[in-house]
């Protein structure tokens, strides 16, 4: 009895499989709502999205398998998706097929059905078929496919409920699929070609000959070498895979049989054609693209600012309240206020940008515009090994690399995605701006005027971008070797945004960031807090608090390390104070200004910190009384900040998004080397020109 009840409660597993753009994710979202959980497949960057549904006492796990065009996987990402389909623990495969694009969508069905697994078909986009004035004979299609076909028609919710019921009915009483194509069809292309060359062989004769193998064809190949590919396909088709030609032969036959034109299309020229006329136009198209990208950037850069300030201020006041409560326990107080509350704040502060960017991406992707943008930009980014879709992650990274890196998901190809992730932090993010402003304000603008101040600011933003191009080129040529798939960009018909899909995409991304990257960031922020807080130094009573903070930091683990590492930074023209500020900024570069504040005895919360700090920096001296900062030192320090991977949150995000420990290290090392060498070059140039 007991074993029976446990068998009953073991959840069934349902896999949703289909082409990209077949409406699979929309369907998954409608079926499962927002109860989705995301996990990484081991070793690759592909995510598995799944959710549990219960109906009539049966519990089933629904798995959204990443979109696939074929089961003969070539890339690593696809291999993972294919392995889910082959997984014997899957109780039902639901093939999601776009009814308005049957011929190509059925291709993968011809492969899946041959596996002999429980299968059914969910037919999407039926409204598009009707808009074309066509009728799709569902019963006939079901006969061809040998399984149940559920069209998603009529009222949206009703269609989904019908599908859900059908899925649970199939789970109880599954239809096992079988191959739809006779394997002999695999040799028909070869037979045709031989025919045209004047050799008339029957199917049986040819089959026997193919089984004999290549020697039996040598004399044909000598005469007609172009026969070889057809022979290889026919041989493979008989033995293992079917020739794609044979599969398409079948799908196009089915398409002709089940679809009939019953009336004139609702529109002679489709909306998509009309929109494409403008949106991919060589002048208007590019203009609109620039405008759209500007809007996206404006959204992340400006519109998320109030929410970020709110979070920052909220956590500051929370820190203040907790600080008052813990007045009696200074160590605990500092741990809670500076370490934990500060750490959680520094995780959550990224959320507005992530949510806003993923709102924009889901909107652009869902409506079909993203594919057009990629079409326009592909030439520009394609030559160095990226593709048109890299535009969004790279642009976003100018606001913040974290949403930028997460946005690299828009690229289906793993290699382009990795290359984009690795260069994203070279784009000058908004957290670098305060450093530029401080140093330009102190050393460039007063001496050289506003033109050079503006020029320096521009140069710092361009530097990382300019370096990113050769880096991507190198990464693609030397590091990410191996097979590269052709860049296949489908331009689906435009559609209205589906708000439910957009909000689910936003919130799952936000959740993934907070729960995975967020925890690592929090731990690091506590460690860095401890390094600056311990060991405690005995400060004589009566010392002003700003000076006391400076002395404490100087004698902490961080300060000791900063002093110890000074010789490393000396060739760049940096003293121990700058070294310590750089070290303290490794977890998050925006902390450098407050750190400099402490190191130059101003404290970190001074209201006019920038103004006072720039005075302090101008007056700062080396022990031999030479000024610490020349304009060149300032430029060197800016170059260092422009190129260095001083952002632990970025590295934690890379760890999560690449699902590997290797890539964050690669990023950290190459960027640190760039930063060091860049600043060194600036210093050498300065010495060449007499450091003036």
């Amino acid at each position: 009895m007991k074993s029976k009840s446990s068998a009953k409660s073991a959840p069934k597993r349902v896999a949703l499989v289909g082409n990209p753009n077949a409406g699979k994710t929309t369907l998954f979202n409608s079926l499962t709502g927002s109860k989705q959980k995301i996990a990484n497949y081991p070793g690759v960057t592909v995510e598995q999205v799944s959710a549990f549904i219960e109906q009539d006492g049966v519990r089933a796990e629904f798995i959204d398998v990443p979109g696939l065009y074929s089961l003969d996987a070539v890339s690593e990402d696809e291999a993972v998706a294919v392995s889910v389909i082959h997984d014997k623990s899957i109780d039902l495969i639901v093939c999601v097929i776009d009814g308005s694009n049957l011929e190509r969508n059925l291709f993968i069905y011809t492969q899946i059905c041959a596996l002999g697994r429980p299968i059914m078909v969910a037919l999407t986009m039926v409204d598009r078929v009707e808009a074309k004035g066509e009728k799709l004979d569902v019963e006939k299609l079901s006969k061809f496919l040998g399984c149940k076909v559920i069209p998603l028609v009529g009222h949206k919710e009703k269609g989904i409920a019908a599908l859900r019921t059908a899925i649970f009915a199939e789970l109880a009483n599954p239809t096992i699929s079988g191959p739809v194509i006779d394997r002999t069809e695999a040799i028909l292309p070869l037979k045709d070609r031989l025919n045209r060359m004047g050799f008339d062989l029957s199917v049986e004769e040819l089959k026997a000959k193919i089984q004999e193998g290549e020697p039996a064809f040598e004399h044909y190949f000598d005469q007609f070498p172009e026969l070889r590919p057809d022979f290889l396909l026919a041989k493979e088709g008989l033995e293992r895979h079917l020739d794609p030609s044979a599969r398409y032969h079948w799908t196009s036959k089915v398409q002709k049989e089940v679809i009939s034109q019953i009336k004139k299309p609702r529109r002679a020229v489709t909306v998509t054609d009309k929109l494409d006329l403008i949106l991919t136009h060589r002048v208007f198209g590019l203009g609109i693209f620039v405008l759209v990208m500007y809007l996206v950037f404006l959204c992340i850069y400006t519109f998320s600012k109030p929410a970020m300030d709110l979070i920052q201020n909220g956590f500051n006041s929370l820190g203040g309240v907790l600080g008052n409560l813990l007045q009696g326990a200074p160590v605990l107080r500092s741990l809670v206020v500076d370490g934990i509350v500060g750490g959680i704040g520094s995780v959550l502060v990224f959320l507005p940008q992530i949510l806003v960017l993923f709102f924009c991406i889901a909107l652009l992707e869902g409506t079909g515009y993203l594919a057009r943008a990629a079409f326009l930009m592909d030439r520009l980014l394609g030559w160095c090994g990226l593709n048109g879709r890299a535009f969004i992650p790279l642009l976003s990274s100018f606001a913040c690399a974290i949403p930028g890196i997460m946005a690299a998901r828009v690229m289906p190809d793993q290699k382009s995605r990795l290359a984009t992730i690795l260069v994203a932090p070279l784009m000058s993010c908004s957290a670098r701006l305060p450093v530029y402003m401080l140093l330009i304000g102190a050393f460039i603008e007063p001496q050289f005027g506003p033109f050079w101040a503006g020029f320096t600011l521009f140069a710092m933003h361009f530097l990382g971008f300019g370096l990113a191009i050769p880096v991507v080129f190198f990464i693609n040529k030397k590091i990410l070797k191996g097979k590269r798939l052709p860049f296949l960009l489908e331009l689906p018909p435009y559609q209205l945004p589906k708000w439910k899909d957009i909000f689910i995409a936003m919130f799952t991304r936000g959740k993934v960031f907070v729960t995975t990257a967020g925890t690592t960031i929090l731990v690091m922020s506590v460690i860095i807090w401890a390094a600056g807080y311990f060991p405690r130094y005995n400060i004589p009573a009566g010392t002003p608090p700003e000076v006391a903070a400076e002395i404490q930091l100087e004698h902490s683990v961080l300060g000791t390390f900063g002093k110890g590492i000074e010789p490393v930074f000396r060739p760049l023209g940096f003293d121990w104070r700058i070294s310590t500020a750089i070290l303290s900024a490794f977890p998050a570069r925006e902390t450098v200004v407050p750190s400099l504040g402490i190191l130059f005895s101003l404290g970190k919360d001074d209201k006019k910190l920038d103004e006072k700090l720039s005075k302090k920096l101008i007056d700062a001296k080396w022990p031999d009384n030479k000024p610490l900062f020349t304009p060149w030192t300032a430029v060197g320090l800016m170059v260092f900040f422009a190129l260095c991977a001083q952002c632990f949150s970025t590295l934690a995000t890379v760890r999560r998004e690449t699902n590997s420990r290797k890539w964050p290290w690669v990023m950290f090392i190459y960027m640190t080397v760039f930063a060091y060498v860049g600043a060194l070059i600036v210093h050498l140039i300065a010495m060449l020109f007499g450091a003036s």
Partner: protein
């Protein structure tokens, strides 16, 4: 029958795939997208920067880079 390379196609042309490289790896994937010998298609548009090329085949729209279609010979139908 005269054929031209895929990259030489112009906007609005209708064409048919005549010859292809051996269908493995990259080319196999193109086959799987429906670009098998004998397939008819129409050139919808060429991207403003000259590449990729958008074609209409088997009832859907696909963009292809000229370089990745190297070796595909097509027969012009009109």
């Amino acid at each position: 029958m005269t054929t031209i390379g895929f990259g030489e196609l112009k906007k609005g042309m209708r064409a048919k795939i005549a010859e292809t490289p051996e269908p493995k790896d990259q080319v196999l994937r193109l086959y799987e997208m429906g670009l098998v010998p004998g397939t008819e298609f129409k050139v919808v548009k060429i991207a403003p920067l000259g590449d990729p090329i958008e074609i209409d085949l088997r009832g859907y729209r696909l963009c292809l880079r000229k370089q990745e279609m190297a070796g595909f010979e097509v027969e012009i139908l009109g």
